[in-house]
Subunit: 208 residues, 2 copies
DNA sequence: ATTTAATTTGACTGAATGGTCAAAAGATTT
DNA sequence: AAATCTTTTGACCATTCAGTCAAATTAAAT
């Protein structure tokens, strides 16, 4: 079972690239930290760029597990968004503790860096974004059905806006290396953007 | 007048770093495209990182000229936001034509890439963001005074949200290499976020 | 037990990296 | 015209980069 070597490389790459950046991290550095020789690296990945692609798959796989639960149709649609915000913030806190820096969204950071450099990464990320917005879209439809937001809401557009909003806040948190703002304002801002009136918000804390 | 050499380097660096990324562009590449020898580069900049800092100053200087006009207190506060969106989109279109790729916000892209790598860049960008949100904040206060948005609006928080929202949309446009979404939805989304009712929006196009 | 296939190793390559430096050339000042 | 200061040049450096490869090791199949 030597998928161990491969996943060691992927997990190490996620850490290093997420904290620094794709171009700032070398193959040698990844290998050294993963305690894998370079020859093994190129046995599993044809190039550094392919490693990057697989790290994104790995991230998305992890996210999917949580989002499938958070955005379960059995949940109240308002709660789904609240829980997502909780998850995002908790994850950022965890990574801050582990890596010593606010890191933001690994996929957006990587995507922004490589957008013009590698077209295949651009299309890959576009696909991942589509998956994420699908969660938002379906929750928005349920909000419409529940009469919490207007029936005239363009849910596809609104879902993309939610995504961009969160990405933007995470980028700012990364640049400022500070989670304070999103801890205090991300949820409220999101509900403003969606157009959920205050009375529909739960003041009690929810757990994932 | 040899500031010519220096500004040639800065302008070339803006182009290359904006389109690709800081770490993807080498000093040699910048020198070659600017037609400046490497020795001259290090005569004007003590390091590559210092060049990056000066490119941000240069970007901010350019933005300030436009924003001082767009956010002039003589303007209707709703118009200010509309004009800003026009400016952002026009600039993106121009850069797309020039550089062949949607490039997003140069400062956010660079900031996201170097946040954990170089602390001085992080603080520099935090300063620039403060300047930008000052424009939004003052326009928001004028919206409050005009009774267009609620007097209970936390303008400082809302300004940061606006900033994050735009940054997020630009990142997505960069990743997708497509301006379609922001052309169609950025203004509407921004007004949703601010909480401006439809009747306050001008349907007519404005010019900067 | 032997063949076959998958994995690991470590030394290697050539190009590119950020940065240096002394000397030449050009301006400015005296 | 001589001296001083600024700018430009191009050769140079040590290091790092992504990627290669043949041989050694280990595991699986026969």
């Amino acid at each position: 079972m030597s998928t161990d070597t491969k996943s060691k490389l992927i997990n190490t790459a996620i850490e290093l690239i997420w904290r620094d950046s794709y171009n700032a991290v070398s193959v040698d550095e990844i290998c050294k930290k993963a305690d894998v020789k370079k020859g093994s690296f190129y046995h599993y990945f044809p190039s550094k760029a392919h490693l990057a692609l697989e790290t994104m798959d790995s991230c998305m796989q992890e996210i999917k597990i949580h989002y499938d639960d958070i955005f379960s149709p059995t949940r109240d649609p308002v709660d789904r968004f609240s829980l997502m915000i909780c998850y995002v913030i908790d994850q950022q806190k965890k990574i801050l503790k582990e890596l010593g820096h606010v890191c933001g969204c690994p996929i957006a950071t990587l995507g922004s860096e490589l957008a013009a450099q590698d077209a295949t990464i651009g299309t890959k990320i576009t696909g991942i974004c589509k998956k994420k917005t699908a969660y938002y879209e379906s929750a928005l439809r349920d909000l419409v059905a529940a009469g919490i937001i207007g029936a005239d809401t363009n849910v596809a557009v609104k879902a993309d806006e939610i995504f961009a909003f969160i990405i933007g806040q995470l980028i700012m948190a990364r640049i400022n290396n500070d989670l304070g703002f999103i801890e205090h304002n991300l949820e409220r801002g999101l509900f403003d953007l969606i157009g959920i009136k205050k009375q529909n918000r739960k003041s009690e804390k929810l757990t994932v």
